[in-house]
């Protein structure tokens, strides 16, 4: 029998000992049109390319069947999608089930208002031709799956400053 030494000792409180896994609040942000074409895909978690494609298709399938009487929230796998439709575009944010629905719903609107200001009456084509700028806008407002900046004034000031750089 392998009896090795046994002991019991006391450690003082504090200094938790265990790394707890944690995920970003936002798993991804998608902008899609009604036909399912992706206009922006921003991922905050590791997915492989096939998985991303699948997620894109699934989100499109669950979101487009809903009408105005439905909520702006859909349970989705182990997450939930908060989405809002603007003309032909669906803005979708996938977050943890415990996250605050209305905060992200207005997070979308805040983002759309910034795009609208930045592109002067934004339309789908702006997002197509300036896709690389849209990423900059996203990074100003959302980073590492969290909300980074919420002030439209501050974001637009920063974007215009960047715009002026060569």
């Amino acid at each position: 029998m392998a009896v090795t030494s046994t002991q019991s000792s006391r450690t003082s409180g504090g200094g938790l000992w265990i790394p707890v896994e944690s995920w970003p609040s936002i798993r991804f942000i998608l902008i899609q049109n009604r036909a399912g074409k992706t206009r922006l895909a921003k991922w905050y978690m590791q997915f492989d390319d096939d998985e991303k494609q699948k997620l894109i298709e699934e989100v499109h399938a669950v979101v487009t069947v809903r009408d105005a009487k439905h909520t702006n929230f859909v349970e989705f796998r182990n997450f939930k999608i908060i989405y809002r439709r603007y003309a032909g575009l669906y803005f979708c944010i996938c977050v943890d089930v415990t996250d605050n629905n209305l905060a992200y719903l207005e997070g979308i609107h805040n983002f759309v208002e910034v795009l609208n200001e930045y592109f002067h009456n934004v339309c789908e084509l702006d997002l197509v031709f300036n896709f690389y700028k849209v990423y900059t806008v996203v990074d100003e407002m959302f980073l590492a799956g969290e909300i980074r900046e919420t002030s439209q004034t501050k974001v637009l000031k920063q974007l215009l400053m960047l715009q002026s750089l060569e």
Binding site: T11, G13, L16, W17, P19, T71, N130, T150
Partner: protein, 993 residues
């Protein structure tokens, strides 16, 4: 404000995008793209050095092509070159390309890191932000290794620009999530917490996310954030709407920051300091008051932002669960929302009320809304809202309203969407059982369930009704009568035939006195369904027939004739044939005494938590909300547990307790053992149950002919018919919580002790983590294993502000385990001070391969009450793995050597988590085997090898996991030299994906 013109800056890019958009077909698009790729390739390869602008333009085109869904296999180098440009627009495109297309291409990562390093050190805020965003977006381990030390410095340095601080905070958060071991906390903790005081609300917004995540991991280190967060929140909620200017959104002051602060506070219990607590209560009251004020704007943005804060405040109130006034106010507010014209608000109110229902302070207040909720179930258009209504009805259910709620759920079930039917079935089954004062009602409800939604009634449900009927003799006659009547229906669901067959086989005699249900009538009724049923049900019916022969000698001849018919004796199905042959022989040879012994009535089942509840808890997938649901259930159970521990049971059931039968034992779901009211000891297991339950429990194993192999027919026909020794565990198996777990230990825990195993499976592929947590105590584990030896450091953290007295923690091994595993502990210190941690070391030796797990029995006194519970220790067979590296040739040779059918266990199952290659690899290595690269010809498959070390022997093990991303399925194959090991390992590992 100048707007951005379309495609400004890069004309060539705009032209290319236009061309693509004008393509009439997919082929045309591909052609155009190939042309462009050829063009770019030649430019990159050309002799002429490209200027920065062209490089940027081409890299950007490549990125666009990639985003259209085409593979890009060049251009990485050019993108990396752009990082060293000193022009913002060129740098930006370089970073973007890397962020989107990064792969751990090792030669480039050094160059990329070099570029990032230069920008981080540049003191140019724009460049610093670009590099920080890149790290935050990619978050790879290499980047963590290179920059984990720099970023905290940037974050807390006095001269860092605000916008850089924001990025640095979130960048650090990302690295902490992906590589926590590389991001040491420590000297900068206090300064990070202090960011909550920053003048720039954007910095506070970012920092709050960082602090929340860190506080979840190490609450003690970030305790000081509570007072700062409350102070900040207080300033926001009391500010006039214009005070915060840039951060006011539709007349709501800093809604997102408020939400984040309220979430941070949910990492902690209510503050102990009275003044602080008062200030927080004031904040929460102010938020609740604002909900009653007339809106400052009619815009939905205004009300959404306001309500976002309100719902988060309510979440905090529920989390604290200590202020009855606030809880009731929250409930009233949500009650108003239940009738709001906005669907979003109705949905969120239902969801939020669900958690309120589990607080003893607000449970009654929630119940007053029952009519509204039932109405929602009937009228809401959005199925997800109806689903929330079902959840809430389930949560608010207690003895006083159970009949009404169950009836409403049943009637809703008739028209409910298929996506949520199974869950409703489980909920109805749980409620009917939990609140059954009158078991006839329970039986009626379950039979109704089978009638309305037979296809969704899972095995757990119908097993459970049988278990309860067997255990309660006051309901047996009624059950027999009811199933008999239900079976009269011309078309009844097969599940009803199963329940009917079982119950009549056991208790048909209780109604046989009535000529309308004489033995012959009963038999004919059952047999009229026989030919429409599947094999497992037919097998069950045959067992019912042989039981009839014992109960009613008068139908013996009729039944023997049926058994003797060719369609039985020569049935193509081996199981049915065997039963017919054996039962016929048994009825012919055995004397009445022997028949009576062999076919005795089933003994009562040992009580345990309902397997239905376990299933409901396990349920994940579309149409369900696992996280919150589980949290709710966990919360509820914890309360139940505490309540029963504190002896104040039935607290909220109120008046109903007066009813004659509502002794504590009525709640058959509770962990307390139901007193068995019949003298027969469990050991007199009747032989009957062997084939009977074997067929119920594992129809899939029938083809292997388990009866002959496990229970030789000589035994069955032998004069004394001593029960097979495994019979007992089989019986348990059928109703055990985890159907896969093999023989479940019966007497693990002393009576009245709950055994928690919630986190058990999380430890299969890792060795450290939180094993258990309730409001009082947190138990963490660190374990290490070498060959057949292991050592576990158990940390008991007292979360309260009082001392724990008479603390003891001992390890219990179930009998089955005692010869297979040695666990040594020394008694722990008998006290744990408030907020302190106690460490205990367990030494473990594995003697032989094993299945059950030891249980840590914990007992202590807190505030005068004795707390006593068990926690299943995550000591599993795979912990004793040593990884084995081998070449493909060796692997296949061994694979072939282990080719005997019983050495291989294969399982096909659905993915429960996103199918991420890296995660899967980590899990397989965490499981203990070596991960063998280049062995499987198909690179998407995973192959592993290892040796299990026990004191007596070593067992080699090979495994192969084949993911099918299309179908979201896995196939897991395990081959070891020992069948029990293959099975156990397969059961353990297959739960992990």
């Amino acid at each position: 404000m100048p707007a951005v013109s379309k495609g400004d800056g890069m004309r060539g890019l705009a032209v290319f995008i236009s061309d693509i958009r004008n393509c009439k077909s997919k082929e045309a698009e591909i052609k155009r793209i190939n042309k462009e790729l050829a063009n770019i390739r030649s430019k990159f390869k050309g002799d002429k050095a490209l200027d920065g602008y062209s490089k940027k333009k081409y890299v950007c085109k490549l990125l666009f092509i990639f985003l259209l869904g085409h593979d890009i296999d060049f251009g990485h180098m050019e993108a990396v070159n752009l990082l060293s440009s000193n022009k913002y627009t060129e740098k930006q495109i370089g970073y973007l390309f890397i962020s989107v297309l990064v792969n751990s291409n090792s030669d480039l990562i050094r160059l990329i890191n070099n570029g990032i390093k230069n920008d981080l050190a540049s003191r140019n805020p724009t460049h610093m932000n670009l590099s920080l965003h890149c790290i935050a977006n990619v978050g790879s381990r290499e980047m963590a290794e290179a920059f984990a030390a720099d970023i905290p410095r940037i974050l807390v340095a006095g001269d860092t620009m605000d916008s850089v601080k924001q990025s640095a905070a979130l960048c650090l958060l990302r690295l902490n999530r992906t590589s926590p071991d590389l991001v040491p906390m420590g000297e900068w903790t206090a300064r990070v917490v202090h960011l909550l005081n920053d003048q720039h609300l954007g910095v506070v917004t970012s920092a709050t996310s960082l602090i929340t995540t860190l506080a979840q991991k190490s609450p003690d280190d970030f305790k000081t954030s509570v007072s700062l967060a409350i102070a900040r929140l207080s300033r926001i909620v009391t500010s006039a709407s214009i005070d915060l200017q840039d951060y006011t959104y539709y007349f709501v002051a800093a809604p997102w920051l408020s939400v984040k602060l309220l979430r941070l506070l949910q990492c902690y219990p209510p503050p102990e300091d009275g003044a602080l607590r008062g200030r927080l209560t004031e904040c929460l009251e102010t938020i609740l008051n604002k909900a009653q004020e007339p809106p400052k704007s009619k815009k939905v943005q205004h009300s959404n932002a306001k309500n976002a804060v309100l719902f988060e405040a309510i979440a905090l109130i529920i989390h604290h669960d200590s202020e009855p006034t606030l809880l009731v106010r929250a409930c009233n507010q949500l009650g108003q929302f239940l009738q709001h014209r906005e669907t979003n608000l109705r949905y969120l109110a239902l969801e939020s009320m669900c958690t309120l229902a589990s607080s003893e302070f607000s449970h009654e207040a929630v119940k007053t809304h029952i009519e509204t909720v039932i109405n929602a179930l009937k009228t809401e258009r959005d199925v997800s809202v109806r689903q929330r209504a079902v959840d809430l009805l389930y949560a608010m259910c207690d003895r006083s309203n159970a009949k009404q709620i169950v009836a409403e759920m049943l009637s809703y079930l008739e028209t409910a969407d298929y996506s949520i039917r199974e869950e409703i079935v489980l909920k109805v089954a749980v409620l009917a059982e939990k609140y059954a004062v009158d078991y006839t009602w329970y039986v009626d409800t379950i039979l109704n369930l089978i009638r309305v939604a037979g296809d969704q009634v899972s095995e757990e449900v119908w097993y459970r009704v049988i278990q309860i009927v067997i255990n309660r003799d006051d309901v047996q006659g009624y059950a027999a009568k009811t199933v008999f009547e239900a079976l009269q229906a011309p078309a009844c669901h097969e599940n009803l035939v199963k329940v009917g067959g079982y119950i009549l086989g056991e208790f048909g005699n209780l109604i046989a006195g009535d000529s309308r249900s004489s033995p012959l009538v009963q038999f004919k009724l059952l047999h009229s369904k026989f030919h429409l049923c599947s094999v497992p049900t037919r097998a069950l019916l045959l067992s019912a027939y042989i039981k009839f022969i014992n109960l009613f000698p008068e139908v013996k001849a009729t039944i023997q004739e049926v058994l003797r018919s060719d369609s039985q004796l020569r049935n193509a199905d081996v199981e049915l044939q065997q039963r017919a042959v054996e039962y016929l022989r048994l009825s012919t040879i055995a004397s009445t005494d022997i028949l009576a012994t062999v076919l005795e009535e089933m003994p009562p089942f040992p009580e345990r938590e309902s397997s239905i509840l376990a299933k409901l808890k396990r349920r994940k997938g579309p149409g369900n909300q696992p996280g919150a649901e589980e949290a709710r259930q966990e919360r509820e159970r914890e309360r139940e547990r505490e309540r029963s521990l504190n002896g104040s049971a039935e607290h909220r059931e109120g008046g109903a307790a007066a009813s004659a039968k509502s002794s504590p034992s009525v709640d058959v779901l509770s962990v307390a053992a139901l007193p068995t009211n019949r003298p027969r000891p469990v050991s007199s297991v009747s032989l009957m149950q062997t084939p009977f339950l074997a067929s119920c429990a594992a129809p899939s194993s029938l083809s292997a002919g388990p009866m002959t192999s496990l229970y030789p027919s000589a035994d069955l026909l032998g004069p004394t018919g001593s029960p097979p020794s495994t019979g007992g565990s089989l019986l348990v198996d059928v109703f055990s919580d985890s159907l896969q777990a093999g023989p479940a230990p019966l007497d693990l825990a002393p009576p009245n002790t709950a055994v928690s195993e919630d986190n058990f499976s999380r430890f299969i592929c890792k060795n450290n983590g939180v094993l258990f947590e309730n409001q009082l105590l947190q138990i963490g584990l660190k374990s290490e294993y070498r060959q057949n030896l292991g050592r576990i450091y158990v940390f008991f953290g007292n979360k309260t502000s009082n001392q724990f007295l008479d603390f003891s923690s001992t390890v219990n091994c179930p009998d089955l385990l005692k010869t297979k595993l040695n666990v040594h502990t020394k008694p722990a210190d008998p006290t744990i001070d408030a907020g302190a941690q106690l460490q205990q070391i367990l030494n473990i030796e594995c003697l032989e391969d094993f299945t059950p797990a030891p249980v840590l029995d914990i007992q202590f006194r807190y505030g005068g009450t004795l707390q006593n519970f068990g926690v299943k220790l995550p000591v599993m067979l795979n912990k004793f793995f040593q990884p084995t590296e081998m070449e493909a040739q060796d692997f296949f040779q061994r694979w072939k050597q282990l080719g005997a059918p019983q050495q291989e266990v294969q399982k096909i199952f659905k993915a429960k988590h996103p199918m991420d290659t890296e995660v899967t690899k980590a899990k397989i290595m965490g499981f203990g085997t070596a991960l063998l690269d280049g062995v499987d010809p198909n690179p998407t498959n995973f192959v592993g090898a290892g040796v299990i070390h026990t004191k007596n022997t070593q067992v080699g093990c090979l495994l192969r996991l084949e993911p099918n991303t299309q179908a979201q399925m896995y196939r897991l194959t395990l081959r070891t030299s020992r069948d029990t090991v293959s099975q156990r390992l397969s059961d353990l590992l297959s739960e992990q994906f």
